[in-house]
Structure formats: structure tokens, C-alpha cells
């Protein structure tokens, strides 16, 4: 597999504060990499260093093997935080300017880019009349100009309504699946990253504290959590206490009980409940989420 983005020993300080320290990342071609961290963890600083918007104090960045920043940017489309535009100009004019800098023929690429984000009917309107969500879409359209091989997206769903968020998620999924675009996405919406990312890196205080495939990270070892629903609650509690490897962990949703299972699988647990005379109305697996992992690693810091 080709490495789309390789970061080694990236460091950036602001005075005595270390924003990013010895950051190592490797993003393989065609993957969707989720870059997570609490506020102020150094995500945006790292992305800006990767794009050379700010100068790293140390470190090495290679994009598709290129180490020269100009060559690197030929492969990259970027959306950093809330996108900014020449508000007094139309959306189309803004994309025209981006095309001029990218060396692209605006007539060939702008209509398609506007179409892709659903702004084809508003392209001639002045940006100052756009909603936050429309600006975000226009920012994504700008990042997509020139069909980049690597897309760096910093909080791409900021300001979007639920439908807009879903559209962006679908767009990311389709770019990765159909067009083989590698996507490096930072977001504080963990469920969103879990829905699209194949691999994640979690950064805290400038350091990468975890990195790996999403499925591996959330698999979480031998422990399982299930929610059991039964009309006979006292009997259920007694049975849970009696079954080896099962431990009551609190009340769940809809009067269900949360049970931690260690070294016992779900069918066995279900069978033993029945053997204890508990009428099981429902038994729902509770998978570990990226959010659980994140909270474990960053200690519940606000995200």
C-alpha cells in the first residue's frame, strides 16, 4: 500500500507552550483517517503544519512521497476550520480565484464542484448571503477542485444541519470508495468519524496517544457489554449475580439492565438466564464506541 501522508517527529511550539510534539502519523492511500483530540490538543496546528501554513519547529512531512511543499500541494485539497471567502463576490467567482491559483480551467471544473455539494443553483449569488452550512459546502467544493488525491478536512461538518452532515458523510464515503481519495479528517463528532474512518489517531496535549484501525481499537479485548430486558427484574438481577462471568453494571435504556460479560459469550449467557428461569424479552449487544475509547484515553476531557 502506498503511503499518502507520512509525518515524522512533527513539533511546533508557541513560546513555552508545546502545541504539537514528536507527532508521527502514517496514512495509507485510499483510507479515511480520523484525527481526534480534545479542544487545544494540537489537531488544527498539526494540520496547518502539514500544509505549511505555519512553520513546524521540527519534523518531516511527505505526501505521496513528495517532500517539497509545492509538489505536495498538487495532491492536496484542504478545508481548515470554517472556510473563509471573498464575501462580496459570488460563490462561483470565489472558486474561479481558487482555480487561477491551482492552474485549473475554471470553466471545466467549477460547475462540477458546485454540483457535487448541491450549490449549482446558488453559485452566482454573493457569498455574504450564504448560510454557514452553504459556506461549509462551498469550502468543500473548493477543496475538491482539481480532484485531489488527499483531502485534509478540519471539522468539515461545522455549521451543517443533520441532512447536511449526512450528505458530507456520504460524500466522504463516496470519495474514498469510488474515487480512491485518501481522506484525513479531524472532527469532534466522534460518531461521525466512527461512521466514515477506517483508521484513527487520537492526539492529546500534542502527543499521539492511540492509533490504529477503528475496529481493532473499539474491539476492547475480552470484555463485552449487553443490555437485558425482562419483565421480572428481581429474578433477572439474581440470575446475573449467579452466572459466572456476568456482572451487573447498572440500568440501561428502557428499563433494561447493563451486564458486563467476561469470558462468556452472549448465547451462553442467554441460555444460562433461561436456565435460571428468567424470561428474556430482549438482549442487545452494546458495542464499545469510539467515544468510549476516546474518553478512556483523554480522561473525559471536554471535546
Amino acid at each position: 500500500m502506498t503511503t499518502a501522508l507520512e509525518v515524522r517527529g512533527l513539533r511546533r511550539t508557541y513560546g513555552s507552550r508545546v502545541a504539537v510534539d514528536s507527532l508521527d502519523l502514517e496514512v495509507t492511500e485510499g483510507s479515511v483517517y480520523g484525527f481526534l483530540g480534545p479542544n487545544g490538543a494540537g489537531k488544527t496546528t498539526a494540520m496547518r503544519c502539514i500544509l505549511r501554513l505555519i512553520r513546524p519547529d521540527a519534523g518531516h512531512v511527505a505526501i505521496f512521497g513528495d517532500t517539497d511543499p509545492v509538489q505536495q500541494r498538487r495532491h492536496v485539497g484542504a478545508l481548515i476550520e470554517t472556510p473563509r471567502f471573498y464575501e462580496w463576490m459570488s460563490g462561483k467567482d470565489n472558486l474561479d480565484i481558487a482555480c487561477a491559483y491551482a492552474g485549473l480551467n475554471a470553466k471545466d471544473v467549477v460547475p462540477e464542484a458546485l454540483m457535487r455539494v448541491g450549490l449549482q443553483d446558488r453559485g452566482d449569488d454573493k457569498v455574504k448571503g450564504y448560510s454557514l452550512g452553504m459556506k461549509q459546502r462551498l469550502g468543500i467544493a473548493r477543496a475538491l477542485l482539481g480532484k485531489p488525491k488527499l483531502l485534509l478536512l478540519d471539522e468539515p461538518t461545522n455549521g451543517l444541519d443533520p441532512q447536511g452532515m449526512k450528505d458530507v458523510r456520504d460524500l466522504i464515503a463516496s470519495l474514498a470508495a469510488d474515487q480512491d481519495v485518501t481522506i484525513f479528517i479531524s472532527s469532534h463528532l466522534l460518531y461521525e468519524v466512527q461512521a466514515v474512518a477506517t483508521r484513527v489517531g487520537i492526539i492529546r496535549k500534542g502527543h499521539l496517544v492511540a492509533e490504529g484501525e477503528v475496529e481493532e481499537l473499539i474491539a476492547g479485548g475480552d470484555e463485552l457489554e449487553v443490555e437485558v430486558g425482562s419483565p421480572e427484574l428481581p429474578k433477572l438481577r439474581e440470575a446475573i449475580d449467579a452466572i459466572s462471568g456476568a456482572e451487573w453494571a447498572g440500568a440501561g435504556a428502557d428499563r433494561r439492565q447493563v451486564v458486563k460479560l467476561t469470558h462468556i459469550d452472549v448465547p451462553t449467557f442467554n441460555r444460562q438466564l433461561v436456565e435460571h428461569g428468567v424470561p428474556v424479552a430482549e438482549l442487545v449487544g452494546r458495542g464499545r464506541t469510539l467515544e468510549d475509547l476516546f474518553l478512556e484515553l483523554v480522561g473525559g476531557t471536554e471535546i
Binding site: R52, L53, P83, M89, D93, I97, A100, G103
Partner: protein
């Protein structure tokens, strides 16, 4: 050098002309010489009556095509047009840093210097276009309505020197803009630099007055002297003045470029 540099410059020019401040330049370039032409017509009209009353003064006031074009240039270069150029430059450099639109340009596959260069070139082209408008608006009525000296080589060279002077002024503004992200502070900063330079020149003149010849020699190389070199072009070619303008442009432009290369654009 990126292949798309001409498109980048045109994109910057498009930005300039899409704002009201951008239109102020062409409007002033029409209005100011028109006022000069009108003023010259009034003076020429009074000159005949004056010839009867005070022939000595009347002969001193000689309105000919050369005078009209020359005064149009002087009026254009006094305060208003430099202020417009300063505002346009500040919006394009400091303004884009403060509203973060510069970020979207710097993530494109072009070297950093070319972004600054395209902005600088756009404002310089804009200044040149405004000068051309002034020249034409002054020249045509001057030749049609006034008699006398039609040899305009010197003053035409003055227009060229003014363009160089504008470019050097834009370079000063660009350099100041690398120290601030505020348009207002950029304007104030350039004004402070200009006032400081004026004060330094005043001090050198005073020192020279007390017999220190080095002060006089230093004065010749002050930036303000170079910026005003265009005044010397309306009568004769001034190679040192021209050289100083070019030198200033290179030094200030280079300094702005060096600072911009090292500036973080978060």
C-alpha cells in the same frame, strides 16, 4: 516560476476591481485631470484680461499642453491616489490575513513568494492603468484646447517614473503589512513610516545647514527623495532618480518577500 502566475495576477486584479476602493482609482484618474483641465481653461481665459492689466504676471502664467499634463500628474500624485493605493494594498495583504482568505491561496500548488508577487503585481498594474487613464484624460484636451509646447517626452517619462514610484510605495505598504493583520494598522503604519522619513529628512537638512556635508549626501539617498523623483522627470531624464526608484523597489520588495516567507498564516 508557476505557469499560472498570469492567471493569479488577473485573479488579484479581479478582487481589487470588485470592491468600491478598487473603483476609486479609475474614478480619481478621470476626475482629477478633468479638474486640472478645467482650472487651466479658467486661468487661460483670465490670462487675456490679465495681459491688459498686468502683462508681466500674465506672461509668467503660461498654460500650454505641457503644463496641463504636468499639473495633472502632480495633482494625481498628491495624497488621494497614494491613499487609494495604500488602501488597496492593505486590503489585499493585511486584509486577507485578517479575514483568513489568504489561507486558501497558500494551500494551492504555488510557491509562497508567487502569492505575494501576484498581489504586488496586481496593485502595480492597477496603479499603471490609473496613470494611463490620467495621462489620456489630461493629454487629449491639452492638445485640443491649448496652444504652445507640445513636446511631452519629459512629462511622459514623469508618468513612467510615477509608476515606479507607486510600485516602491506599494512595496513599502506590503512590507508594513507583513507586521500586521489589520488594514487600519497597515494604513497607520505606512503613514507613520512616511512621517518618520519626513522628520529624518528635516533633521538631515538642519544638520546640513550647520555645515555637515555628509548629511546633505545622505539626504539624496532617503526613500522620500526616490518616491518624489517623478518631479524631476517632467523636465529632464534623471538617471540617479530612476536608479534610486528601482533600487528602493528591489530592496523593499525583497524585504517584504523575506518576511512573508517566514510569516505564519494560521
Amino acid at each position: 516560476m508557476p505557469k499560472q502566475l498570469p492567471q493569479m495576477i488577473m485573479a488579484e486584479l479581479r478582487k481589487v476591481l470588485s470592491r468600491p476602493t478598487g473603483w476609486a482609482g479609475p474614478v480619481l484618474s478621470i476626475v482629477l485631470p478633468s479638474i486640472v483641465v478645467l482650472g487651466c481653461l479658467i486661468v487661460a481665459d483670465k490670462q487675456e484680461a490679465m495681459m491688459q492689466e498686468n502683462p508681466l504676471v500674465a506672461t509668467m502664467i503660461n498654460i500650454e499642453p505641457y503644463t496641463v499634463v504636468s499639473w495633472s500628474l502632480r495633482t494625481r500624485n498628491f495624497f488621494l491616489m497614494p491613499m487609494v493605493l495604500l488602501l488597496v494594498t492593505a486590503q489585499l495583504f493585511a486584509g486577507e490575513r485578517s479575514n483568513k482568505t489568504l489561507r486558501s491561496l497558500l494551500v494551492r500548488p504555488v510557491p509562497r513568494w508567487s502569492v505575494l508577487f501576484s498581489k504586488f503585481s496586481a496593485v502595480t498594474l492597477y496603479a499603471g492603468a490609473c496613470l494611463l487613464i490620467t495621462y489620456l484624460v489630461a493629454l487629449l484636451p491639452a492638445l485640443l484646447l491649448f496652444e504652445g509646447e507640445t513636446e511631452l517626452g519629459g512629462v511622459s517619462l514623469g508618468f513612467l517614473a510615477s509608476w515606479l514610484s507607486d510600485a516602491a510605495f506599494i512595496a513599502i505598504a506590503a512590507l508594513v503589512c507583513t507586521f500586521t493583520t489589520s488594514v487600519a494598522w497597515a494604513v497607520v503604519g505606512v503613514v507613520i513610516v512616511m512621517i518618520g522619513e519626513l522628520a529624518a529628512r528635516g533633521a538631515l537638512e538642519a544638520i546640513e545647514f550647520f555645515g555637515q556635508t555628509w548629511a546633505g549626501r545622505t539626504l539624496e539617498y532617503m526613500p522620500g527623495n526616490a518616491l518624489e523623483a517623478w518631479k524631476g522627470f517632467d523636465e529632464a531624464w534623471s538617471a540617479p532618480g530612476f536608479g534610486m526608484l528601482v533600487g528602493m523597489l528591489v530592496v523593499l520588495g525583497g524585504a517584504a518577500l523575506a518576511r512573508f516567507q517566514r510569516t505564519d498564516v494560521p
